[in-house]
Structure formats: C-alpha cells, structure tokens
C-alpha cells in the first residue's frame, strides 16, 4: 500500500503542483480562501473552500493568484474565460454544479464555442471544478449530477474520477489541457482514501480504466457509483458471478473502445448513472452499444438511474433516489438469469 490520501487532499495536492509549476495558473471561486484571505490577517484562509479542499493555497500562492469571489458565477466565470483568452490558465471552483444555472450562458455559449466561432484564433484553457451528487441531504438545489448537460455541448471536455489517485492525475491533466475542461467531484468521494503517489503525474486523456476484470457481465459506471459497483462485484465473486467494472473516468471524450472491448467479452451490460434519466451518460453509452456493439449483445442493455424527479430532502426519499448496492446487485442478477 502506498501513501494514503483522501480524495479532497488529492485535489488540493494537484492544485498545488499545477500552481507551483506554472505561474499562469490562478484560482477563483466563492470562499476558496474564506474570509477573503485578508492581508491584515496574514493572508490566511478561514475556510480553504467550504469543505477545506483549497486549504492553504492562499497562504502558499498569495492573494494575487488565489481569489475569493463574490457569489456571482456569471461574473467570475466570465472573467476566467476572458483571462484564459488573454493567456492565463484559470482554475475556477463552481461550488455546486447546481449553480451553473445562474451562469449558464458562460458554460453554453462562451467557453466552449469561442475557439470554434473565432476560427481557431484563441484557446480557452479554463478548468472548472465542481461538486455534484446526492448523499448530503441537501435537496434539489445542491444534489444534482448534471454532467450530461456539459457533455452535450461541443467544446467541453469533462471528467468524473472515482478515486483519489484518478482525481489528482485527472485534475493535473485538465489544468494543462488547452481546452475548457470541467471536473466533477462527487460529494460522497471527498473523504474516501486511497493510494496517491507523491509525484506529478497526469491521467491519460480520454482513457477509461477496467477497475475490476470479469467475464460474465460488463458494468459501466461513473464517479462515486463506480465504488458501489466495485463493492457489489467483489461480493458477487463469492457467488461465482464475475462482473467487469468499467470506469470511463472521462465523460468527454468517452473511451468507447474500453466499453466495446469489455462487451465483446461478456455480451451483457449494466450501465449505472446518477444523472437524470433522460439524455444522460447511460443513454449515451446505450446508444454507443446499439450503434457499434449490437452484435456483441447476448441480452438487452440494462440501465440503472434515479427516477425522473428532482432530488428530495428527507433521508428515506434521498436514499431511495440514489442507486444502492442492493439495486445494483439485483439488476446484475436479473440480467444474468
């Protein structure tokens, strides 16, 4: 076992490495220092982000590279886009992906389109990191997944790593990429721990990973739910069911090959997605299989998503909204029987 870090500590380490190695990397976001890192208080952060992910950054890099912003998403995301066109590499924290709503023009019409529309004259190397997903009893304005909205827009790259190792290498790859990239961090991942090498490393762009190999069924899953799928797969091993768990890691570009190669081997597939059920990553993967992998299928494609409803607040409602290990196990067994 290597050095253990939590997911959020791995994010912090990636940001520090990126900022140390490239003075053009700056960070903007609401309360990312906290208390605005005021000089009279020694440029210390009160919070280091609402969940401490950016703790210590303003101390190390100063208040000319780490900026607390007003609650004004269009304002600071727009500024980051302009700064990127002028040569900086801003990392922006969108506190929750739900808040994209108040600033969506910058996500829809600005960052991803400017390079194309202006004939390739500019690059817009911004990275957005944002928190998503259920599990904190935060109801419908702080619990959505929504990555499919961004995948839908040409010009964005997107990733949703499921482990501390992957988020560190993924964020470093994102910040150093010349395209707009959005990193989705699931709330339930923040405190999980795992092996994280100390060195600077980058994930391969657009490459997924077989998190567990198997021969009976392919399980494609994203972000936090990869971990649930893995737990179920390990449990089923004892029942002589061999599930292969695929984590595409990158939502855009999507590693089609890793999914199709696995399907070729197993002939059966379950796709798990916490995003809203229509037009999400699961339907996208299902379409991929229908168009490029139909001949490999021995059983209908099966999709597990939440209901077509906003996330509810009460624990019993949220727990049932989410995709539990029991639901995953049941679906796998139904497909195999």
């Amino acid at each position: 076992m290597g050095r253990q870090l939590t997911y959020k500590a791995a994010v912090n380490e990636a940001i520090r490495i990126a900022m140390r190695k490239d003075s053009n990397v700056i960070m903007l976001g609401e309360d990312i220092a906290g208390g605005a890192g005021r000089e009279e208080q020694g440029i210390e952060d009160a919070w280091g982000g609402p969940y401490g992910v950016s703790k210590g950054l303003i101390k190390e890099f100063g208040n000319k590279r780490v900026f607390d912003t007003p609650i004004s998403e269009s304002g600071f995301i727009g500024a980051a886009i302009g700064a990127a066109m002028a040569g900086l590499r801003p990392l922006v924290e969108l506190m929750y992906v739900d808040f994209a709503g108040v600033s969506f023009d910058q996500f829809l019409n600005q960052a991803p389109k400017l390079r194309f529309m202006f004939g390739g004259q500019v690059i817009v190397p911004i990275t957005v990191k944002t928190l998503m997903g259920c599990g904190w009893r935060n109801a419908g304005h702080h619990s959505q997944t929504l990555y499919s909205l961004f995948v839908h827009i040409p010009g964005w790259y997107a990733l949703a790593p499921s482990s501390p190792h992957d988020v560190k290498g993924g964020l470093l790859a994102a910040i150093r990429n010349d395209n707009p990239v959005i990193l989705f961090e699931h709330k339930m991942l923040y405190n999980i721990t795992g092996d994280v090498p100390e060195e600077d490393y980058e994930l391969k762009f657009g490459k997924g990973e077989v998190k567990k190999s198997g021969k009976d069924i392919t399980v494609v899953s994203f972000s936090f739910l990869v971990n649930r799928a893995l737990k179920v797969a390990e449990k089923l091993e004892k029942e002589n069911i061999s599930a292969e768990v695929i984590d595409p890691i990158w939502l855009a570009p999507l590693d089609e090959e890793i999914i199709l190669n696995s399907l070729k081997k197993t002939g059966k597939v379950l796709i798990i997605d916490e995003d809203n059920p229509r037009c999400n990553m699961a339907t996208d993967v299902a379409a991929l299989i229908a168009t490029k992998g139909f001949d490999y299928l021995d059983a209908p494609v099966r999709i597990l998503t939440p209901p077509n409803a906003p996330v509810a607040y009460a624990p019993i409602l949220e727990d049932n909204y989410m995709i539990s290990e029991e639901k995953i196990e049941k679906a796998i067994k139904e497909i195999l029987n």
């Binding site: 004004s72 304002g75 600071f76 727009g78 302009g82 023009d105 019409n109 194309f116 202006f118």
Partner: protein, 319 residues
C-alpha cells in the same frame, strides 16, 4: 485636448470607413449576398472611434452584436471582415462566425458576440491579468442599453469595482433595445447613475460628439492605468438603421430619426475640423474617397473569395 491633426484626420477616416462599410452591408444584405443576421451601427460611428482612439494597441476591446465599427476602429482589415460577413473561407473566422462573431486576437479585438451582455464579464479577464502581472493594459467592453439590464452587467461592474480592475465599461445608449425604448426598460433617467451602486465613476457623454467621447474615455483610461479601478461611460447616441437589417421597424418615428440625423456625428466632426482649420473641403473629399475605395476593395475581395471547405465543419472545436 492632446490630439494631433494627423490623429484627428485618422479618426475621421475611420468614421467614414465605418459609414461606408455599414451602408454597403445594408445593400449587400438586401441583395442576398450576406446570408445571416446583421446589426448595423451607422449613426454611432463616434462611439467606437472615440473610445478606441483613447487606447493603445495593447489594450483589449470586447465588442457586441453591433460591433463592425469597433472592429474597424481597432484596426481590423475590412477585407477580412467583409469576407467573414459573406461566410467566406478568407474571413476573420473562416466563415464560422459571421457578423456577430468577428475577432482578431492579434489586434486584441476580443470578439463581437451574439449574446446580449454575454461578453461583459469576460472583459474583466484581461484586466485581472494586468492586475496580477502589474502591467498597464486596460480592458474595455462596449455594449448597449439593452445589455445594461442583464445580470452580467451588474456582476461585472461589481467584480471590477471590488478588485479595482483596469476595466472600462462603455454603455452605448442608442435608445432602443431591439424595439423597446430605454425609458421602458430602465426606471432611471441617467443610466450612469448605475455606477453609484458600485462606488465607481459613472460619466454621461454626448455620444454623437467623437471628441467628447475621446475625452471622457481618456480620463477613464488614465484612472485604470493608475490602478484607480473601473469606470462606467454612458454614450448617448442613435442608430439610424433598424435593430437588424430588414426588420419591420414601426417603433420610432421618421421625425425622431431626422432629428438625430441633424446631429450626425460625421458631419459635425467634419464641421469642427474645418472650422478649426484642421481640414479643408478638398482634403475631406480625399479622405472620403479613400474610405469609399477601401470598402469597394473589401467587397471585391469578399466576392472573389472562396467559400469554406465542408471539411472545416468541425475543426477547431477542440485544440
């Protein structure tokens, strides 16, 4: 005022070039040579020219959907602009953008835009870079009275004011947001008062007078370069054309348009230059002919230019 006669004549040349560009686009659009939507700014030449005359080459300008004049004032090539409007491969953006998406990053004209208010917050980006790096470059965004009711306007002014960014916000009040009069859209008479909310100067200017625009803009630039933060300029002006070429109109009277035409920014500037012995009628005619000829050349260039190759349909989406 610190303007040399050479610079004054150059400003006049730019204004005439814009006028001929816009009138030509109006005609070409009606002849079917310009395929998409087009928003013209003739009547307002004084705004872009006066604002940009107060800048250095390295300063950034973000424009809007009525931005041809801003591009010409920033020194963009009218041939490449005309080709872009005609959707030709030789255009600034290789025919991907058209009228609403013209950019020349080398000239630091950071783009016209199709979303009203969409570019306002982006102007703070280069300004933030200047602040971080301690350079003197300022960043300017021009937008209309329609955009000043967008949230982005308020968010951008607030951000620039708290960080004291070298940003300059130029509200070109041409009295109509599409078809809707500014008095209907705004409950205050003096739009520059909006600056009060952000603790920054708000300056009202006769936008039909290019020298007044230049003067107010120069002061704003000076403030920004000294690290004193952003300014809101409100330029009172008028567009002679409709919101877009071919629109039905009907929301303003011919009399109103005539009243503004009497205050035409080019005629008044010419009069000023002649009265102050900077220019005579002959020299004016030469400048006028030069501007006209430039636009004829631009049209010829665009006409002869090839259309894009279909293989270009999805290049440059990603780096």
């Amino acid at each position: 005022m610190d303007l040399s006669s050479v610079k004054l004549k150059e400003m006049l040349r730019q204004m005439l070039t814009i006028r001929y560009f816009e009138l030509s686009v109006d005609r070409l659009y009606r002849e079917g040579k310009i395929p998409g939507g087009c928003h013209l700014g003739y009547g307002e030449e004084s705004t872009g020219v006066g604002v940009i005359a107060a800048l250095d080459e390295n300063d950034y300008v973000f424009s809007n959907h009525r931005g041809h004049g801003h591009c010409i004032a920033k020194g963009l090539d009218t041939k490449l602009m005309m080709a872009e409007l005609q959707g030709k491969a030789t255009g600034y953006c290789r025919g991907r953008g058209g009228s609403m998406h013209i950019m020349d990053v080398k000239k630091r004209l950071m783009g016209t835009t199709g979303i009203v208010g969409g570019g306002i917050p982006q102007a703070n980006g280069p300004a933030l870079k200047s602040l971080i790096e301690g350079t003197k470059e300022v960043s300017v965004v021009l937008f209309g009275d329609g955009a000043c009711n967008q949230g982005t306007f308020h968010e951008a002014l607030n951000l620039a004011s708290i960080w004291k960014l070298p940003s300059i916000f130029v509200l070109v009040n041409n009295h109509y947001a599409e078809s809707t009069p500014v008095e209907y859209n705004c409950n205050i008479k003096n739009l520059a008062d909006r600056a009060i909310s952000y603790g920054i100067p708000g300056v009202s200017v006769d936008g039909m007078n290019v020298l007044e625009v230049y003067k107010a803009m120069s002061e704003a630039v000076q403030r920004a370069r000294k690290g004193e933060g952003p300014t809101l300029l409100v330029l009172d002006t008028y567009r002679y054309a409709g919101h877009y070429v071919g629109e039905p109109e009907g929301y303003r009277t011919d009399k109103e348009i005539e009243e503004y035409r009497k205050r035409d920014c080019i005629l008044n500037f010419k009069k000023y230059l002649i009265e102050n012995n900077i220019l005579d009628e002959n020299e004016y005619n030469l400048i006028d002919a030069k501007a006209k000829k430039e636009i004829e050349g631009a049209i010829e260039f665009a006409d002869k230019s090839p259309i894009p190759d279909v293989s270009d349909i999805d290049t440059d989406v990603y780096v």
